[in-house]
């Protein structure tokens, strides 16, 4: 039996320990905000925080998540008002919106580590997150907005 904390709640899992955390979150824990885009750590749609760091949940096995603290988009802020979320809304970032949970989780982790990132730091940190709709110009603007406060 694997136990872990997700958004402040204890969860347990009794299945195949090689299961990627992504599918536990989506299909077993009922937290569909974290998205599946590639399954190979190539797109960032599944980004969550594990012990405070942004990771691709499709590339973390349940056995490695055991005992860890996981935060998903649903748990980033109790009212959905994390500065990054507010900035995303202020800049009207999303088109289809599918990549945005992963983008926001990645940006939140970046700003926690680097509160005032340079353009290059933004690019490096966000380059793992694909947006097929092409919202990059606004993503960059929103990260800057979040850094300076909305």
């Amino acid at each position: 039996m694997i136990t872990l904390s997700v958004n402040g709640q204890e969860h347990s899992y009794d299945g195949d320990p090689s299961l990627p955390l992504l599918w536990f979150l989506r299909d077993e824990a009922g937290l569909p905000g974290t998205k599946f885009g590639c399954g190979e750590a190539l797109c960032g749609a599944c980004t969550v925080h594990v012990n405070g760091e942004a990771v691709r949940s499709c590339a973390v096995q349940m056995s490695d998540a055991a005992g860890k603290t996981v935060v998903t988009i649903e748990g980033l802020d109790p009212h959905g008002n994390h500065p990054v979320q507010r900035a995303w809304r202020a800049v009207n970032v999303p088109q289809c919106g599918f990549c945005q949970a992963g983008q926001i989780m990645q940006a939140a982790a970046l700003l926690k580590q680097t509160p005032n990132p340079t353009d290059e730091q933004i690019h490096t940190a966000m380059a793992g997150n694909i947006c097929r709709c092409g919202c990059y110009q606004r993503i960059e603007a929103a990260v800057r907005t979040a850094a300076t406060g909305v």
């Binding site: 905000g33 974290t34 749609a45 599918f98 990549c99 990059y136």
Partner: protein, 767 residues
Amino acid sequence: MTHIDKSDPASVVENVSRRAWLKGVVASGSLIVAASALPRGAMAAWKTGADAMPHGTVSDPHVFVAIDKDGIVTIVAHRSEMGTGSKTSLPMVVADEMSADWSRCRVVQAPGDEVKYGNQDTDGSRSLRHFVQPMRQCGAAARLMLEMAAAKRLGVDVSEVEAINHEVVHRHSGRSFGFGELAADAAALPTPAPDQIRLKDPNSFRYIGTGSVPIVDLFGITTGTATYGADVRLPGMKYAVILRPPVLGSKVKSVDGSAAMKIRGVEKVMEVKGWDWPAKFQPLGGVAVIARNTGIAIKGRDALKVVWTESPHAVYDSDTFREEMLATSRKPGKTVRNEGDIDAAMKSAARVVSAEYYVPQFAHAPMEPPVATAWVHDGMAEVWAPVQSPGGTHDDLCKTLGLAYDKVKVNVTLLGGAFGRKSKCDFALEAALLSQALNAPVRVQWTREDDIQHDFYHAPAVERIEAALDGSNKVIGWRHRNVAPTLFSTFMPDPKYQQPLEYSMGQVDLPFEIANIRCEVGEAAAHSRIGWFRSVRNVPNTFATQCFVAELAHELGRDPKEMLLELIGAPRIVDPRKTTVDLWNYGDPFETYPIDTGRVRGVVELVAEKAGWGRNLPAGHGMGIAVQRCFLSYVATVVEVAVDDKGKISVPRVDTAIDCGFFVNPERIVSQIEGAAIMGLTVAKHSAVTFKNGVAQQGNFNDYPVVRIDEAPRVTNVHIVQNGWDVPSSGVGEPATAPFAPAFCNAIFAATQKRIRSLPVGDQISL
């Protein structure tokens, strides 16, 4: 306040119908449009092709608008939301016309039911173009009904009252009633006759044209609570993935699922039915693995051993196919436009310039891979899916499952991108067939590999253009041959040639002033499923024609923009209908949407001015320009590239000008065009799916790269041509993808003197 927009689609429908005062709004299974419905197409200021689409348009407020007693207005969005913003923009049109306060409006997504809502096929950049008028009529009719209810209550003539900001005011006395107070009385009224309805003066719009309204799902998207295709979970639901035949036309010969069944959590391995090709949007078939969750199902699928039958499409090899298309393009093809005498022009030419271009096959790769949930039980089917055509999906489900119209319900979730892929509902049919077989709710998830290897692809194309020049270097002849497998191969056996719908997207509709023009298409077979991708055939056709103009300019030592304007010629209407075999005008009347070279010139001149065409650039930089009339809009792009000493290309700046007629939501037009620059750059730089022995060779974002933030254009500036209501609305979602690749490649030439004639650019210019 009730958040009707965030819960699952089923409960939304329930919530709203409980609170609805206008009977019939979003009620499930209702098939009858109120008898008092406006005549279809009534009061249109301009005629569109909307009424020639299946089920045409509906503009009855009894179908689209509900108001509860607290004054909350619920407006139905009947088109699918895939990122263009139409789920916000069309209801906003209704709200503006009915003088509602947007902060007191809610939007609810309609299920698939074209009999009730009119056409729902969210494709072809049609949503605003075809529905801005019906939605204005709908809002205006609702406003009148509220005014009539208020007038009756006051015992005055309706002309003495006016709806303003969510209430109806009696001008003389100042007495007013909120929309909520009037709701029940207004609801009891029949829909007013068209000649009673007065549309607002466009100058009085509060939301239309301002770009001040954020998309309705913004909060849900940023908090992970918006519902996409894979986010619907039903009690007892099974999780499935399917191993599909690697070669089109193959079938399962034998399956060994024993290793898969040993994996903890795998519940079942079963063969699923596929259809013989061409099969429209029917599933490919294969072997399904059912498990306790999607991750385990994928692991189980990896352990399957399947032997497939032979298929004639195993001959498909992209390199060989390209050579074959090239050979075909060097021979006369089937003439689809013939103007003047091209043979005589070629014979008399002082010189002939020619070039061959190649655009490869590629996949849509929407961020959300195809996925659907279905529950077929007790002679009914309910599906939750991110489909572009909920009505078409509904019909295909009825046919496939043998169910009557009112026994099927298609709930439309948000679409995590689509770009044409989700016009094809094979994934929803798969889920329904599996649910039927398993007698349980089933979700079928496509992996990224499934998506890239079993797409309805953008077809590969070879384009050959020859221009005849006279002694004074004037272009007197233009021959354009276009060879590509047709998307109609998805619908009919061996159609061999591209059809009017395809060659009318950028080949025969050429807006150039040249005396002798011949357009031909060449024969090509399809060995994979061919579909349509954002901008469709405008992608290869614009690439060829607009790169060729820049090549001509270079040959003649001219400025590319001046050359382009010279070929476009004087402002006039170009009418290729007489010289073309069945010109397709995007399904809309030519009289409403002629080919207006004044507007073609207009966007070229606008974008050139805004981009600072001809300005001094740093070393290694170059600018390119391209224009296209695409989905009835006019769009021109200037791309600036910077190429470093290793041949690495970056894009410091993009400018795009669009003339899309009367527009509703400029903020979403800007976002579509910013996105089109990214998608255009991906097409130009990276996109190719290649086949060997009939099998797609790419599978994920490692070998099918897309542009990421670090290689995106540093800035994309969007310039929208201001138009009044007298200029018909035209497409926005697709057009700007088309001119990007040629503008980009022309810029590369300007920077490096290296001509790109074959996409993707990849590492062609790296040193």
